[in-house]
Structures are given as C-alpha cells and as structure tokens.
Amino acid sequence: MEKRIRVLVAKPGLDGHDRGAKVVARALRDAGFEVIYTGLRQTPEQIAEAALQEDVNVVAMSILSGAHSHLFPKVVNLLREKGMKDTLVIGGGVIPEDDIPALKEAGIAEVFTPGALTTDIVEFIKKNVK
C-alpha cells in the first residue's frame, strides 16, 4: 500500500486567525492526507520539533499578522538543521506579492494567498512532495 502523505498544518507566531488553517487542514484530510494541526501560537522551534516527531512530508504554515518574513524562514532553517532536507514547506495568509520572492528564496516552495483554492493546494503537494 502506498504510504499516505503526512502534513503538519501550523500557526507560527501570535496570530489567532485560524479559519484558513483549519479549512485547509480539513480539505487536505478529505483529500486523503494524514493531517496534524498544531493549534495557535507555535514558535518556529515547536513547529520544527513537531514536524520531526510526527515524521511529516509537508509543513503548511499560515500567518495573517504580517510576521511571515520573520517566521517562515526560521522554520525552514530549523527543519534543515534537524536534517529534514526533503520536507516540503508551504505557506499561506495575507502575504503581499512583493514578499513572495524572498520567501521562495528562503525555501518556502509555494505561497497561497486569499482566494486560493484548496484543490490547488492539494495538487501542489501531490506534485512536489518527495
């Protein structure tokens, strides 16, 4: 049997807006992935540690507070430090387009902004997960 894709949906920082994170988590679960949701207010360290413990293939983070440029790259770095070089990291939230190139440079494979379809997120993961 093919191993199911495991996804950690995470809310880094202090932002409490988790409508999007929960909707995406449920859509990924309905698409057949195994999904773990961290809940609110996770530090980058907590997220990287959870990713390691849960042995996930994907880390999907959501921020609507504007702290994305500070927090997303930190998580990528910590994952790499822990040896999770193949973990696919994606992000979403209220993220100005101008910030996206730098986030991609920092190792965020894709950024989904308001209006994105959950089916696109599912497709992206299927296509890019290692």
């Binding site: 807006h17 409508r19 929960k22 909707v23 988590a25 507070s65 387009e97 209006g115 379809l117």
Partner: protein, 548 residues
C-alpha cells in the same frame, strides 16, 4: 385582502411561476422560497414582536429617533507601528471627520507581552500599535482631548491593564474618569471560540471582566465595559444565525457571572454593548441586526428580570466583513463595503467601521481609509437610508427572515444552555466545531461554484500585482525595544516592585477587585508584560484543544 384570498391568489401565482420555470429554469443555489407575502408574517404580532423604535423589544431600534437625531459614530479601526505613528493616523482621521477613535493593538500587546519578549519578535507594531507601558499610551493620545473623544479599544485578555492606562493618561491630561467615553472589547469568550488572543483560563478571565464591570459602574460610568462580539465568530466562518446565537450565549454567561459576583443587573447591564459583522447578504444582515435586538431584550427581561430600559437594549458597533474582501481586483471591495454599510445602517447600528479596499493584501493606506470613511458619509448624507427609521420593517421578506433568524438563534441558545452555558460549550469545543463546519461548507461552496465571488471564482482577469501597499517599517521592533529600555531606566524600580507585589497578593484573594491595583501599577510605569506576568503566575494560561 383577507388571508384566504391571498392564499388563493398565491396558489394561482405559484402555478404561473411553475409554468415560467418550465420554459426559463431558475438559477441554481437560490433560497427555497421565491416570494414572501402577508401569509409569511400572519402570526407576527406588531405590538409584541415589532413595536416602535425605543420601545421593547427594540426590534426597530434602540432610540426613538435613530439617525434623525444624529448619525451613527463613524469609527475607523486603526493603529500600527509605534504610538507616535498611530497618533498621527488618529489625528488625520479626526481631521477627516471621523467621530470616534478605535485602537488596534499589535499581537504582543493583545496577549500581554512586552516588545522585548522573545515571543514578540516579528510581531511588534504589525497588526496594531505596540503599547508596553503608560509612556506609550501618553504618546498614543498626545494632543487628543480624552474628555472629548470617544475611544474604542480592541483589547481583551489584558483589557483591565489598557483601560487603567487610559484612565491614568486622562488623569494626567486633567480629565476625570467620570467624563471618559469609550469601549473596551473585553470579550474573552469569543477569543477562545474564534479570535485566539486569550491568556488566562476562563475562570480568572471571567473574574477580571466582572471586576471591570464593578469598577466602572462606580468610577467610569460612561464607559462601555464590554463589547460582546459576534464579528470574529462570523469572520471565523459562522452563519448569520450562529453569529448572534453564540454571541448572545456569551452575553448570558457574562451577565450570570456578574450577578453571581453580587452585582445588581441594572447596575451594569446598560453598559454592555455588542459588536456585529456586516456581511454580504444585505437583507439577511438587516434581519440579523433586528433579530439580535429582539432576542437580547427578551433575554434581559425574561431571564434576568432587568428593570431599566437601558438594560434591555442591545446597542452595537458594526464592522464590515473583512473575510469578504478579495485580494483579486481590490477596487471591487469598495462596492462590497458600500452594500455592507447600507445593511448596517438599515439595521440600526450605533457605530460603524468600514474596511478599506486593500485589506486582503495589507494594512490599509491613508487613501484607502479615506474612501472607506467617505463610503459612510455618502450613505449618511446622500443615500436617504438614514432618513427614516427602520425602513425595511413591514417587508414580508425582512420580517419573515427576522423571525427565522431569531428562531434559529434560540435553538442554538437552548442547546448551549443544555451543555451548561457558553463557557462549558467552549470548553467542550462545541461552538468552535459548529463555526468550523460552517467555514468549511462556505469554502466548498465557493470551490464548487455554488457561491459566486466576483473576481475570485468568476469574472477573473489577469492583474498586475497591486502597488502602494502600506508597509510597516521593519525597524519598528528595534525602536520600540530601545524606547522600553530607556523608560525602564528612568522609572522608580522600588515603586514598580511594590505595586506588582500588591497586585500578586490581590490576584490570590478572589474577593479583591483587581482594577485599583492594576491602576496603581500602570502609574508606576510597570509594563504590560510585567503586569500580565504577575497574573500569568497566579492564574496560569489557557490551553486550547482543537478537534478538526
């Protein structure tokens, strides 16, 4: 026409409609009932259920003359970066004709951390202004007369601390607390259920809230001590009926807690206020506002036996729905906000914040805020919607919808009563689950095309990435930290320590009102993080459990 006659005519109409539909099918995904008639409101008694503005059950509005006396308060939510920057924006808004202030605080402030805390890094000054101590509050209201302006503060878990700072700054300006006008959000239950900026567990949080009710009833009598908020519940994905049901259930919990703490219902109930969302469906929203007034009046009269008319009136602030703004074709949002504004006004709001077109992308620019404020002014002065009271009353559809939303909300309130009240329903995750299910259904409806969002799943165009978004200066965190270090070096450390020790002792004694102790502490320039740190130590922190 008698009801029998209407019934007969309706049957004829339905037959002809069916014939028309056979040739021209109706659009999919419409509400089941296509037309409303007197039959739909034949059981609605005008005197009992609708009545007159300013008269129980206040379906038609809380004041006898509504906007014919004066318009709603045009209150634009703003705040970002440092206190100095936000002060500039506030003064700009006042000069542009805004009639009340509404302060947005950054997340560290909302969760009781100072700007130099590790956990605050990357968040300082981002979604609101950073306030570490009374020194920042002095800058925030510099050259703004607190005796004149009415100020709303979106602050919940540490509401007691920010209110104390406001009182202290006013005192420094020579304004006594009895003159202060404004609102603190102070609604912790919806933080657990939908918004996420909780600190302490429910019990000590409810104590802080009742402490504020009691303190303000004696010392700050014009202050709205809570803004019981459905806004964020709706933003998190609830339906209109769920928005008012869960919020009124929260309201019931606050009133019960205050009565249990020994307060007389009429001593505080008149200062309770509500906060609703103005969503896209104009007539549904108008019906929702009307239904909410009727339910609250009945709750206060029948359940809590409040006597004063003020205690029975649901007064509310409204904000247009942030979650309905689209990042695509942002100018379309101006139209959405105008329609939402019309709904809020026809629904009888007491104050209104209109969102700006660019808020699905970033914090709004000054130009965008100006359009949003002008939207309110156009509706107020040009549209005629504010000239006659409750103009949609008597519409078969709006009255029937008001009844339907009321009935759905009562069903939820009953269910929550059975669970043991709002606190228990939140602790069990019931309210969160209901909201999540609605949010998921909405998203699936958008993705399947059952719901159309213009510019998102229909009528899209290739767009350039938007220019001129507001960016918060990246150095704001460092600036704020430097200010904090400087302030700490100047203050009287012994006084700070003594105030914090006294506060800790008061936290342990459940019969003590914490407000005077917090006020003493802020006046020594003890920081928000230090004060909340003391409370964290005694009260502990809330841990959420999420069931997807």
């Amino acid at each position: 026409m008698s009801n029998e006659k209407v019934q007969a005519e309706l049957a004829k109409y339905e037959a002809s409609a069916e014939k028309a539909i056979a040739r021209f099918p109706e659009r999919p995904h419409l509400p089941e009932q296509r037309l409303y008639t007197p039959l739909d409101i034949k059981n609605t008694d005008y005197a009992d259920e609708i009545s007159f503005p300013g008269v129980y059950p206040y379906t038609r509005g809380v004041q006898p003359t509504m906007y014919r006396g004066r318009f709603w308060t045009m209150r634009m939510y703003a705040g970002f970066s440092t206190a100095e920057e936000s002060n500039k924006r506030y003064r700009y808004l006042i000069e542009s004709g805004a009639t009340g202030l509404s302060c947005a605080f950054d997340l560290p402030t909302q969760i009781g951390y100072d700007s130099d805390d590790d956990i605050s890094q990357g968040e300082v000054g981002k979604v609101g202004v950073a306030i570490d101590s009374m020194a920042d509050m002095e800058l925030l209201f510099d050259k703004i007369d607190l005796g004149k302006v009415s100020t709303s503060m979106t602050i919940n878990a540490p509401a007691s601390v920010l209110l104390a700072m406001y009182i202290a700054v006013a005192e420094k300006q020579g304004v006594t607390p009895d003159l202060l006008k404004g609102t603190i959000q102070n609604d912790i239950l919806k933080e657990y259920a939908a918004r996420g900026t909780y600190i302490f567990p429910p019990r000590p949080s409810m104590r802080l809230i009742t402490n504020i009710f009691e303190y303000c009833s004696k010392n700050v009598p014009k202050w709205n001590t809570i803004s019981i908020s459905g806004y964020h519940i709706r933003e998190a994905g609830s339906t209109a009926s769920q928005e008012i049901a869960f919020t009124i259930a929260d309201g019931i919990a606050y009133v019960e807690a205050a009565i249990k703490a020994g307060l007389d219902v009429d001593a505080f109930a008149g200062r309770l206020s509500f906060f609703w969302n103005a969503h896209n469906n104009v007539l549904e929203e108008v019906a929702k506002f009307r239904a909410s007034r009727r339910i609250w009046a009945k709750v206060m009269k029948e359940r809590f036996h409040a006597q004063k008319p003020k205690s029975l009136m649901l007064r509310f602030h409204t904000q247009t729905a942030g979650s309905m703004l689209t990042a695509q074709q942002p100018n379309n949002n101006i139209i959405r906000v105008a329609l939402q504004t019309a709904a809020a006004v026809m629904g009888g709001t007491q104050s209104l914040h209109t969102n700006s077109r660019d808020e699905a992308l970033a914090l709004p620019t000054e130009d965008s805020v100006m359009i949003a404020l002008r939207t309110q002014q156009i509706v107020a002065y040009e549209s005629g919607l504010a000239d006659v009271i409750d103009p949609l009353a008597g519409s078969y559809y709006v009255e029937a919808l008001t009844n339907k939303i009321e009935a759905e909300a009562w069903d939820y309130i009953k269910k929550i009563d059975e669970i043991g009240g709002a606190v228990a329903a939140i602790e069990k995750g019931y309210i969160q689950k209901e909201i999540q299910d609605s949010a998921y259904k909405w998203q699936m409806d958008v993705e399947s095309g059952a719901k159309t969002i213009v510019g998102v799943n229909k009528f899209h165009i290739k767009e350039e990435s938007p220019k001129n978004l507001l960016r918060v200066d990246a150095s704001v965190g460092e600036k704020q930290k430097a200010k904090l270090i400087e302030m700490k070096a100047k203050r009287d450390q012994a006084a700070v320590q003594a105030a914090l020790t006294a506060l800790e002792k008061a936290c342990v004694d459940e019969n003590e009102n914490l407000m005077p102790h917090i006020l003493t502490a802020v006046k020594t320039y003890a920081t928000l993080g230090e004060i909340c740190g003391v409370m964290r130590k005694v009260f502990g922190e809330y841990e959420a459990h999420v069931n997807l």
